[in-house]
């Protein structure tokens, strides 16, 4: 591999190594949690 080509590869992977794990961890951190217990549904009280 020529030097210029190697330098381009090096720059690309420095950027990817910084970005990709961060993006993945961010996506994991923000992922929706398991379904929780739903709020109780109030049935309308029948008018007397």
């Amino acid at each position: 591999m020529q030097r210029r080509h190697r330098a381009a590869h090096r720059r690309i992977w420095i950027v990817l190594a910084a970005l990709l794990p961060l993006l993945l961890l961010g996506a994991l951190a923000l992922r929706q949690g398991d379904p929780r217990e739903a709020a109780p549904i109030r049935l309308s009280e029948r008018a007397p």
């Binding site: 190697r6 590869h9 090096r10 690309i12 990817l16 990709l20 794990p21 993945l24 923000l30 992922r31």
Partner: protein, 350 residues
């Protein structure tokens, strides 16, 4: 060496390589499809189609990680070079498995869609304001299109037709494709995955791949820097007796820094060039001189002895080196000339 189309020249090693890779792909898919439902810790196992989508998708992701990891592995340890030589075959297989994933998605989710499948695919998720439901499919589609373009142009015909700079630039797009596919997985499959194994595999593969590339880049950067420092006034290297080099063949001199050098003998003349072919890094020093040109043993790429240039109309060039004689021994200047630099062949006595 021609811009005309030539079929892939199958060799025993290529066939063995493809058989091994195809077998592993088949085993992975079978294990995933057969054992996956039993291993999943869920009340309701996924249906067959969903399982197929996940099997093809995860297989394509792992194959792509492997394809991208072969380059730095081979640069860090030369024992991985044989895996590098047929990497294009692995890339084409990755694209085929990814196509299986795309087709399975279209068949399962959009087969009965009243809108065209592609439009339905791109408009499936519209929650731009949150991670869950974020449109992750366009990232995967972009990655697939790049893989498809690379697989379609992976043959040597396209390398010659597009010229190496354009072809290399096109194939560098695989990094953008990889980033897009990581986003596709992170915003898609990982959002629903409750199985920590899958999450761990994705995370570890991304970290391992980035680490490999950084380690290889660091090693090469150090080597280049050391070579630049020593290039100011390097000692000439004793390459042995001039008459020990067989006619039309070469000896290979491995330098402490930089690429190995092949010293060819043609009649009573010696010429030194890079041992590495500009086409696919083939071992030029294991080739021979045919019709006055150095001929790579792998694909027959040729270079002139005096300047390392491929004969017209071809444009490949390799680095040349200076030689001198001292008491019947050949001395090599380890500083490479720019590829294509003319160096008059060194005359020796028969």
């Amino acid at each position: 060496m021609s811009a005309k189309y030539k079929p892939v020249s199958w060799t025993r090693s290529k066939i063995r390589y493809d058989v091994v890779v195809l077998s592993w792909i088949a085993i992975y898919l079978l294990v995933y499809l057969r054992l996956g439902p039993h291993l999943a810790n869920v009340t309701l196992p996924p249906d067959d189609q969903t399982l197929a989508i996940k099997a093809y998708g995860s297989c394509a992701f792992l194959l792509l990680t492997l394809v991208l990891g072969i380059g730095p592995l081979a640069r860090l340890d030369r024992r991985f070079l044989p895996v590098l030589y047929n990497r294009r075959h692995l890339g084409v297989m990755t694209c085929a498995v990814a196509a299986g994933h795309v087709l399975a998605v279209l068949d399962w989710y959009f087969a009965y869609s009243p809108t065209p499948p592609l439009a339905a695919l791109l408009g499936a998720d519209t929650s731009f304001g949150q991670v869950h439901g974020f449109p992750f499919i366009p990232f995967g589609l972009f990655g697939f299109v790049v893989l498809l373009a690379m697989a379609a142009t992976s043959h040597d015909f396209w390398l010659a037709f597009l010229t190496p700079p354009v072809w290399k630039a096109l194939h560098m797009a695989v990094y953008a494709a990889y980033a897009a596919i990581v986003l596709h997985v992170g915003l898609g499959a990982l959002q629903d995955a409750r199985d920590p194994t899958f999450t761990a595999v994705v995370l570890l593969s991304v970290v391992a791949l980035c680490s490999l590339h950084l380690a290889a880049a660091r090693q090469e950067h150090r080597r280049d820097a050391a070579f630049s420092r020593s290039a100011a006034d390097p000692p000439w290297i004793d390459a042995g007796q001039a008459n020990a080099i067989p006619e039309s063949r070469a000896i290979v001199v491995r330098l402490a820094e930089g690429e190995p050098v092949a010293i060819f003998r043609h009649g009573n003349h010696l010429s030194a060039v890079s041992h590495v072919c500009a086409h696919q890094n083939g071992p030029l020093g294991e080739g021979r001189v045919v019709d006055g040109c150095i001929t790579c043993p792998w694909h027959g790429y040729q270079y002139r002895l005096e300047d390392g240039c491929a004969p017209p109309p071809f444009t490949e060039r390799i680095a040349t080196y200076r030689l001198k004689l001292a008491g019947g021994r050949v001395l090599l200047d380890p500083r490479p000339n720019q590829p294509g630099t003319r160096v008059p062949p060194l005359e020796i006595t028969a």
